[in-house]
């Protein structure tokens, strides 16, 4: 199959699946369509990789430019009307204002400039797009399959929520199509279109349960993303008016910094809102009311990655500019502050949300610095974070359904109550902060990248503190899961087989990607870096060997626990001499029976959300302001 056809297929096929799913009459039909489609998408994504590896960046003219752009404009206007209607009905005037402004801008662009814009090739593929496509195609498909089991149980548990699973899966697949379109598009107008479609998908999926809270949070997410959309539209207009109509991404990157900085900053701002960087972090945290597959797909592994994807793409423009440094500082401070807030959260999904924001902040910091080492670190972070975070979100979803709670303190003794799921969760958490797993490798690469960059020591210091904070909140969660309680029974049997399959796949992927990351680096990342930066980042052979040794140890040692061992004498824990029952009940004073309750340190006085968030909002808003001014000044002054 030709490359162009493959790319178009990947964009259109999920759309077709979406339409079929929308009209599926029974759960069985829906399940079949979803599974077949997921398999197809996964296989074809891998096929795409095999076909294009070693070929470098390829420009593709997949679809006729003019008619498609016109069609996109029509769809955009339809979406705008839809959002306008909803905004008025729910009295969300900010949303109404933003969508009106945005539509006006695009209407003006379409009427006045669209005719004269000529982009050489609308689609393209390079190693980075390939990596993103793999994430969307494999992890995205797996999450859709997981949703089959999850949503079934969800509706059984929440009979008050109207069963709109067809709409749910429709939006999930539309989202996948939009993401494919985003990473394959060279035409900035097309990127913008797919960008807005993802905003729409996020909005609808967050508001899925149609409760008061869900609707409010959905509109919150919508206005922040629309703000980014306005900036994006501004960039397009700028390029049309002052940039000689240069609307091809590759052309923009090749044009040099002077022309590209302002539109890059505007698009970068859109990226910041989509990646929920401070001060726009609240929408992601609020989006946790959505069903967990939504959180896994949109709000950790894919949609928010679109935000950092575009920033990494534009990194050559930001490199060594003051604007770039401000951008990097926004990312770094978000990393530090979001990690701090994560310590004080006891709701598992909120911890994951803040951790996501933090890691995205780290990627933004790398993109802002923009050296080849930093980009290497950024792409590695994207890959490993997508895998680990989606695994964690899905595991939390499964656990939540069984123990009826999202609170970390209720997950005590999960290793006894749900051994295999708990083990996978431990793998996911370990993947987020422990050597030799992927995120650690990426953080290591980031440290090295920051040191070599000018003024990088500021970022290194921020990274050192943020890194220490992440160890704290991940380790205490891990400890909770691994506590061996004696009064719990195994409730794992009720887990749906779809959920099992997907969780096992993701856990396996975690290990596999860590094992094969040297190959990933050599085959995909190095050509990409060489083409765009002229340099290659290397991890020495020795270090790779050491990490493989550690990984082998980490497989062998836990596996050894499965061997039959000598049973030792069991004694009760020490409670100051108080006798306790096996489930840690003891006689208090006056003989009253009490149960021991052990809960984590949340340090809310020091890392509380209220205080830290305010700091983050003010600092990052100031930095964004400075960033924008710097970009404008660079343009105006010689």
């Amino acid at each position: 199959m030709q490359l162009a056809q493959l790319l178009v297929f990947l964009i259109l096929f999920p759309l077709i699946t979406a339409v079929f799913v929308l009209f599926a009459r029974k759960g069985l039909e829906r399940g079949l369509i979803v599974k077949l489609s997921a398999l197809a998408i996964g296989v074809i994504t891998v096929g795409l990789l095999l076909m294009t590896v070693d070929k470098g960046a390829l420009q593709v003219q997949g679809l006729p430019g003019e008619p498609v752009t016109l069609l996109m404009f029509v769809v955009e206007m339809l979406i705008a009307v839809f959002i306008l209607y909803l905004g008025i009905v729910h009295r969300k005037w900010l949303v109404v204002a933003l969508i009106l402004i945005q539509s006006a801008m695009m209407l003006y662009f379409e009427l006045v400039y669209a005719g004269s814009i000529e982009v050489a090739s609308n689609l393209f593929i390079d190693e980075f797009s390939n990596i993103m496509a793999l994430i969307i195609g494999i992890i995205g498909s797996l999450i859709c399959v997981y949703s089959l089991g999850y949503m079934k149980f969800f509706h059984e548990q929440h009979p008050e929520v109207k069963d709109r699973q067809n709409v749910f899966f429709f939006m999930m697949f539309v989202f996948l199509a939009a993401m494919f379109g985003l990473v394959f598009s060279n035409n900035i107008i097309w990127v913008y279109f797919f960008w807005e479609v993802t905003t729409l998908c996020s909005f609808i999926l967050i508001g899925y349960t149609k409760t008061e809270e869900a609707t409010t949070n959905a509109f919150n997410a919508l206005w922040m993303n629309l703000l980014g959309g306005v900036a994006f539209a501004g960039a397009i207009l700028y390029l049309a008016v002052l940039g000689n109509g240069m609307l091809g991404l590759s052309d923009l990157l090749a044009s040099g910094k002077v022309i590209a900085l302002v539109p890059a900053t505007l698009i970068g701002f859109a990226g910041l809102t989509k990646a929920a960087q401070m001060p726009f972090s609240s929408w992601l945290v609020g989006a946790m009311v959505a069903p967990t597959p939504v959180s896994a797909l949109l709000h950790s592994s894919t949609m928010v990655k679109a935000g950092v994807y575009i920033l990494v793409r534009l990194a050559p423009v930001f490199q060594a500019t003051f604007t770039g440094y401000m951008l990097a500082l926004v990312g770094a401070l978000t990393f530090l502050i979001a990690s701090g807030i994560a310590i004080s959260q006891s709701n598992a999904k909120r911890v994951l949300a803040y951790s996501t924001i933090a890691n995205l902040g780290l990627i933004v910091a790398c993109a802002g610095i923009g050296t080849y080492e930093a980009i290497w670190a950024a792409v590695l972070l994207i890959v490993f974070h997508a895998i680990s975070k989606s695994l964690l979100f899905l595991a939390v979803g499964t656990v939540e359904h069984r123990i009826r709670s999202r609170d970390i303190d209720d997950m005590t003794g999960l290793i006894i109550r749900m051994p295999k799921i708990a083990a996978m969760m431990v793998i996911g958490i370990a993947g987020m902060f422990l050597a030799p797993f992927g995120m650690l490798i990426s953080k290591w690469a980031a440290i090295r990248a920051f040191i070599d960059a000018p003024y990088g020591f500021v970022f290194v210091i921020i990274l050192a503190f943020g890194s220490a904070i992440t160890v704290f909140f991940w380790a205490k969660w891990m400890g909770k899961i691994l506590t061996v309680t004696t009064d719990s029974k195994n409730i794992e049997g009720e887990v749906d087989r779809h959920e099992w399959a997907v969780l096992t796949c993701l856990a396996g992927l975690s290990f596999i990607t860590t094992f094969v990351f040297p190959v990933l680096s050599t085959k995909l990342l190095e050509p990409f870096l060489l083409a765009n930066y002229g340099h290659v980042a290397l991890l020495s052979q020795d270090n790779i060997l050491i990490m493989m040794m550690m990984l082998v140890l980490l497989v062998i040692l836990p596996a050894s626990t499965l061997l039959p061992g000598r049973r030792h004498r069991h004694v009760s824990p020490y409670m100051g001499g108080r006798t306790t029952t096996q489930d840690m009940r003891f006689s208090g004073s006056l003989g009253i029976q009490k149960k021991t309750v052990l809960s984590n340190y949340y340090l809310t006085d020091y890392f509380g959300e209220a205080k830290l968030r305010v700091w983050g909002i003010w600092l990052c808003s100031a930095l964004i302001g400075i960033m924008a001014v710097a970009a404008a000044l660079r343009e105006v002054l010689p």
Partner: protein
């Protein structure tokens, strides 16, 4: 470059060296308190005794975590002394310590639990400074490899005075000495009983003791790196630093964890910023 011979030497010699250091520590402490104190081989007797005891457990996973703690600590130290990457050493050290923390969590016992949380607070306190130390070493010697840093002729201590002092500050935390022996210590502090090691007994406790010896040797190796340009001065420095730690240990009471974390962070931020900025200016960055 990595020299596996040194790794083997470390794995075999470090427990002996670490045990002796621990014994000398107790002897000097005793004399500071006007006592005679035990023999310098006492730690070996202690560990020998522990291995002679029955292994009683609260649950069967504890021995697993103790073994993992030991294995990864040996791995970390071996990597360090074989000349590996300093950052990787630090991350491997974190991995080793997480096993101890998990072992304490696994026991589902209040004192053990509090000890585990406080151990995490300790890690929170010293991790930034330790990472900044590695970064400082890189800036001073242009390499992350321990072999290069140790062999470097560049006067690391003169380039990194602030970071050295900061490192000494957190060394007190890592060595579990007052005033920062927040999660467990070798002294008679019993407010949280034995903290992390409360629910360990017999052979598994012996393993943890031995691991602590390995860790001490590793940490003293870190101190050595600051003086790599002259092995004689370095050995002297290591001795002086350790005696200083013993002195600090005996003259201070344990502080609240808030003070430990805050002060470590403040020092890490200040010395890190000033020292690294200074080096940056010196290398012509501005």
């Amino acid at each position: 470059m990595i020299n596996p011979a040194w790794a083997l030497v470390f794995a075999l010699v470090a427990p002996v060296a670490g045990g002796l250091v621990a014994g000398i520590d107790r002897k000097i402490t005793a004399h500071m308190q006007g006592r005679v104190g035990p023999s310098i081989f006492q730690p070996f007797y202690d560990v020998g005794k522990l291995f002679e005891k029955e292994q009683a457990v609260v649950n069967e996973t504890q021995t697993f975590y103790a073994i993992c703690y030991l294995v990864f600590m040996i791995f970390t130290g071996a990597l360090f002394f074989a000349g590996g990457d300093l950052l990787l050493v630090i991350f491997a050290l974190t991995l080793a310590q997480i096993f101890l923390v998990l072992g304490a969590f696994a026991a589902n016992s209040p004192y053990s639990y509090v000890g585990a949380e406080r151990e995490l607070l300790q890690i929170l306190a010293y991790e930034p400074m330790v990472i900044l130390t590695a970064v400082g070493m890189f800036v001073a010697t242009k390499s992350f490899n321990v072999s290069d840093i140790a062999a470097s002729a560049s006067p690391v201590i003169l380039l990194l005075p602030g970071i050295f002092l900061g490192f000494l500050y957190v060394l007190t935390i890592k060595l579990r000495k007052s005033p920062f022996d927040i999660s467990t210590s070798h002294h008679a502090h019993q407010e949280i009983v034995k903290g992390v090691t409360t629910e360990f007994s017999g052979p598994s406790l012996g393993l943890i003791e031995v691991t602590h010896w390995y860790e001490v040797v590793l940490l003293l190796g870190f101190v050595y790196l600051f003086f790599g340009f002259s092995p004689l001065i370095a050995a002297l420095a290591v001795a002086v630093v350790y005696i200083l730690e013993i002195l600090v240990d005996n003259t201070n009471a344990r502080v609240r964890w808030q003070l430990a974390v805050r002060s470590s962070w403040l020092i890490a931020a200040v010395v890190g910023l000033v020292n690294l900025a200074g080096l940056y200016v010196l290398s012509g960055g501005i």
